[in-house]
Symmetry: D2
Subunit: 428 residues, 4 copies
């Protein structure tokens, strides 16, 4: 198809560069700088940071971590001017206006890594290649390094084929996909409001190398919630009656959350993934924190779950006489693609010679916040599609995750560029 | 001492009559009528029902049971005029004004039975004597039949010795002692507000026949609470999400109540004695009821417990999205007697020839609502005392409870009448 | 079709007779007697009680209630000989052997009523007709009176058309369908082990008059469970440390049950419908009872739920140092019909002139234990079908449930008899 | 009294030296080395580490922390030979045998610090004096630096007055008092089995400068417990049914622990001070940890609490299908002193001229594991006493804790040395 050695090598090099310097959500300053520089060098119009992120909708961003990340980026040579322009926010959008009438087509790539320690097994891809993560406890173990490298490869191809293209192409490099945090504030910036087509993709999830999965629906709507309780400390032996235990409020909350009734309106999930409470063995605990996640097969049933969570938190704060806070730190909706795009992506995949299998996968029970970008585009009549591209791996979010970049990245490159040919190609 | 065969036989007969017709708290219409008739026949001024009960403070009274009890009393020959005068409330106070200057001295007796089935064992006292309870599931198994018979015996003695007495004597026949319900509204009627001395007593509790126990402090402050939750029913299979389970709210409340922190300020207790919730196996439960009891070695720590209960109930109503009600259905405080009266009672007991043992018992961990009468008297400077009088029995509130009336009732009779001699005797 | 005034009037009369004398599960002695007499009068071979019920698999049967029911039946004129033959168990099977080769076809009807008080509203069908339930708190509010009357109508038709039929016809009158208790021991009697076709039906559920619903799959597998805890009583004020609260064990169990994790393998349900615990406000509760129900969209996920329930009960017994019992009192599986029968029933329904609508309903989220009969038949290669027949009503299990017997019962009669014509008709 | 400028200055210098280098329980290698060197230099026979610690009874010791501490001690110049002799365990006992007949008298001092960050407030005692903790997060905020300096001061005095002393003097420097961990294995070494008198003391707790508190009873028996649950991880969205949540087991455990019934046999306490569970928001938590502490006003009621904790942990492990571990990491008993020693200490304190107040304090509701040393001594007929010596401070275990070493340490020095004069003085 369209991918050749030039693009392949460039994507591979880019991915490996990024793999070495993973950055978690909302701290991707080095990564954003890398993307911005490349897009500008190719002649793209670039918007970034505050220009594409609406701060009123930012979730799950820790100002302290952001500050440290800015310092680190500075030390790594990210220009002060760019950091200032970003205004504390990460992410970038490259826009290519052909000047010819045609649709606005957007592709989404993501920038952040996960909190996973990369394996030191000698046979591990990145160890063999010498590009393992330099940052302990952080790793691109979800393949976003590959995603963004495909985005840069597509950017290069756009520049190279500019005279054969019409309409406008928007390459979106979203921050903070993990925890489903970045899409909402990006959508709320308005950057998608003229988009006619949006296509998103993810590496791997269930597809081995040389397979493309087409998703027309699926993914669960989700909300990520951080709950905090603040009680009153007291010596547990001397004055237990003076204490108000944030720990017990948190524990009771967890137990009740697990018991939110099932819904006949759709599948639901509740996860209480983390709890951390208390200061010492003999002190009535004054602080407690819970990390919670709801899911639903529709937005409605997910909202039903979220409402319940909020009520249970308030009720326990009342019962235990402690203060509570309830903070949404991430969200995504269900996937609703359009038949036109789904059909087109299916056809494209079937015609890529080295793709040996094209499957339909409408039952992914994970969550992806590109669904919020898609929802925004569809709200004004735009159309959307989603595909998975194959790689052989040992499971996402694990220390030995690997993507065979030279073989897998071209799969996505070919899907995206061919879609551009079909929707933004100059009609002969 | 003062008791002779006349009084003894009268008390025994009266006690056996009452034993046959036990009435639970707030339904003692037959019993009240019996007392009123006797007091009036002896020439006492009598106040009863609404005249000595302040309805604003009545707790734990079921209007339906009251209505049935009135019907039953009517059927048993209680005059309509008396029932009207009672105004739906039970209890009576006999007042003897000597016309001579002297203190106002009050004694407390109680009228109600417990919800216990009397044994049909042939050797059981009441079966041998042919005066077992005629009412299934109800029995004077706490000895109140004996208490009130002593009160009537003392009334007879007062009439017989009227010319040797000064001041005023008030014989209080309190309703609804079980559940600690009747004392508060009796105190709030103001009937005790001129009382200089109040003496209360209980049969048995720990004292065998021919022993007197003197209590200077002890008893736990207590509050009896009924909690109800009202949820939303729904078919548990078809629409679980539409239901709001009153049962789960009640269960969570019970669990949390058990966990109210201990207090360094004093001993506390929490009892969740009953729960009844739900309508059917496959329906989300719409109704739930909890019977709760708090105790504390001081009023302060009991209030601490009650406040916690109220908060937990409200918190669970919020968490489970159900309505709740919180109703105090009984209360009592701790015992605080006065040294003067305690010393006097001790001395009296020691001088009764057939009393073989006089003990001090300041650690009763049960509750008695005469403590509220005592508290009312002491609030204006009156003085109070409390004693136990012996009987051999198998445990209160059990179906084989027995009191050896001929031997035990004179003990109390002698304590009360001698106290009158010492405080209300005409000085020679 | 086949129904004429004779059958219609007979079914109506029979249904109204039964409606007056409702009997709950495992106590249907009068009802069984009524069925047995009719079947015998028509010349059916009849098996009943112990002959068709395997006691080893009986669930949710209260021997005390059975004894009372036997007395009541005796008083109502049920012959002693029949009661002896039943051996304490209800239910009957009528068998018609044509003597001609042909399939064994079975139909299932049920006998028991529900614990619902029939409305006294003057306009209510049974009040207008003068056949309202004579037994307070019991009512045929699920239509089983209609079901069994259809069964007797079909029996009459079989007798009338005996010379046109081949093979064997088994009319099964199952006890204790409510609570899904009766089917298992009936299946385990072996009575179905030669059956080639089984058809079951239910009135109403979602179908208005003149509509037939065809169910090919659906119903949730279910298990009904009674849990009991036995603790140690103690005075809650005096010796709380000596008590072991069965109430708290039950409450904690309920809370945990609500939190059994959802399954990705299918829909699940958990209902804690009833709890009753404790003896008195101030006693550590020694007894507790929970009524529980699990459901699952497959047997596997229902078993997953049941296993969890059992583990949670044991765990809480350990935690609270109380004894526990776990008793299955009912069960049913999912519906799996056979295409051949489903197609046949659909065709039959479409050809009944007064049936205005034939729908497919594969998503009933209730439970029906005829699924266990079906499962037994299918296990040896027999084939099964299920249909709903219409009536206008206000909701099953409600006091104003009504079935318009004259119009609705013929619907089922025609479905069953036509099925016989097609499968057991003598080929011309 | 006996303290002069020499001892005072030496104690102050020693305390400040140790204050700079705080070490937490079981890692006091530098501190032990300091003590051992001083005792040896004075001519004491010294036992240390493994020689006075029975490893079979060691609780709450983290081998990793011990290893790090050994490295750190090495780096600080602690001789390798001593580290080897200690065998991984801290603590020391200095023994002075006078060679003259007389009692064996033991004093207890402790070595470890607490996990508190020392304040950087410029006016804070240690900041003014330039001896603030060099180790972040660690501080002698319970005064053990002062205790051990008094012990070394007493050692010096013993050497100086050796010819006036008879019997044997044992100065015990106990490790790991915080968390009540060190006393049990020290007692189990047998080092106390010939002791006739043991006197223990603590700085401050309620006593201001120039006050001595005499404790005859008090302190609560306590057990420190670490509980761990190990569940089965699973993706909370994709396969919730495959997970077994250690977090929920821990939360339910915490809730139940709070609800352990009060005891009529004595005061009890339960503290759930810490919980840490879960790996990530969207993973069924595989690990959970709880830090628990029970207390009781008698050993019996504390054991009642511990037994309940163990049962609840096992029950929840069963309910939630997870593994559990229950580890005692500390324990202490109640204080029982002997009248002879209590009277002697009282008399000594009253005769110290600068002591302005001597109080009796028998109601300390904290815990101290010297009670286990005392218990060991009393088991064979030895006698024990305990006193508090004054300092003005802002609360133990706080970052601004201060002890006015020059004034407070002599108080204890004089108490201990005068006790030696009275019990081990050579009779003139």
């Amino acid at each position: 198809m369209h991918c050749n050695d030039l693009y392949r090598n460039e994507m591979t090099a880019s991915r490996r560069h990024i793999h070495k310097r993973p950055e978690e959500g909302w701290t991707e300053f080095e990564t954003t700088a890398w993307v911005v520089e490349h897009l500008q060098a190719l002649g793209f119009e670039v918007l970034c940071g505050r220009e594409v992120i609406n701060p009123d909708f930012v979730m799950g961003r820790d100002p302290k971590k952001v500050e440290q990340a800015q310092k680190r980026a500075r030390a790594q040579g990210v220009p002060e001017a760019l950091l200032e322009r970003l205004g504390g926010y990460t992410g970038a959008v490259g826009i290519w206006r052909t000047g010819r009438p045609g649709p606005v087509t957007a592709f989404r790539y993501d920038l952040d890594c996960v909190l996973v320690q990369e394996t030191d097994a000698p046979g591990h891809e990145a160890n063999v290649g010498g590009y393992a993560s330099e940052r302990p406890g952080l790793m691109h173990a979800c393949g976003h390094d590959g995603h963004l490298s495909v985005g840069l490869g597509v950017a290069h191809w756009v520049k190279d084929h500019a005279d054969q293209l019409c309409g406008t192409i928007k390459l979106i490099f979203q921050p903070a996909e993990e925890g489903t945090r970045g899409a909402r504030p990006l959508a709320e910036s308005g950057i998608l409001d003229d988009v006619d087509y949006i296509v998103c993709a993810h590496i791997g999830s269930g597809c081995p190398l040389n397979e493309i999965g087409i998703c027309h629906s699926g993914f669960l709507a989700t909300t990520k919630i951080d709950v905090r309780f603040e009680g009153t400390p007291a010596h547990a032996g001397a004055n237990p009656e003076k204490g108000r235990s944030a720990l017990l409020a948190a524990c009771s909350t967890a137990t009740m959350l697990a018991g939110i009734p099932r819904s006949s309106r759709g599948d639901t999930r509740i996860s209480i993934g983390r709890i951390d409470a208390g200061e010492g063995r003999n002190v009535v605990p004054a602080h407690a924190m819970l990390q919670i996640e709801t899911r639903g097969s529709t937005e409605e049933v997910n909202r039903y779950m979220v409402d319940y969570v909020e009520r249970i938190v308030k009720g326990n704060a009342l019962s235990y006489d402690v203060k509570s806070s309830f903070e949404k730190v991430g969200e995504a909706t269900v996937l609703t693609a359009d038949q036109e795009v789904t059909d087109e992506l299916t056809d494209i995949a079937r015609r890529i010679p080295y793709i040996k299998s094209v499957i339909r996968n409408d039952h992914i029970s994970g969550s992806e916040d590109c669904t919020l970008l898609i929802s925004r585009v569809r709200a004004h009549g735009g159309k959307a599609g989603f595909f998975l591209f194959g790689c052989n791996q040992n499971g996402h979010h694990k220390g030995d995750f690997a993507i065979q970049d030279e073989q897998s990245l071209p799969e996505a490159f070919d899907m995206f560029t061919e879609f551009l040919c079909r929707r933004n190609g100059v009609k002969a």
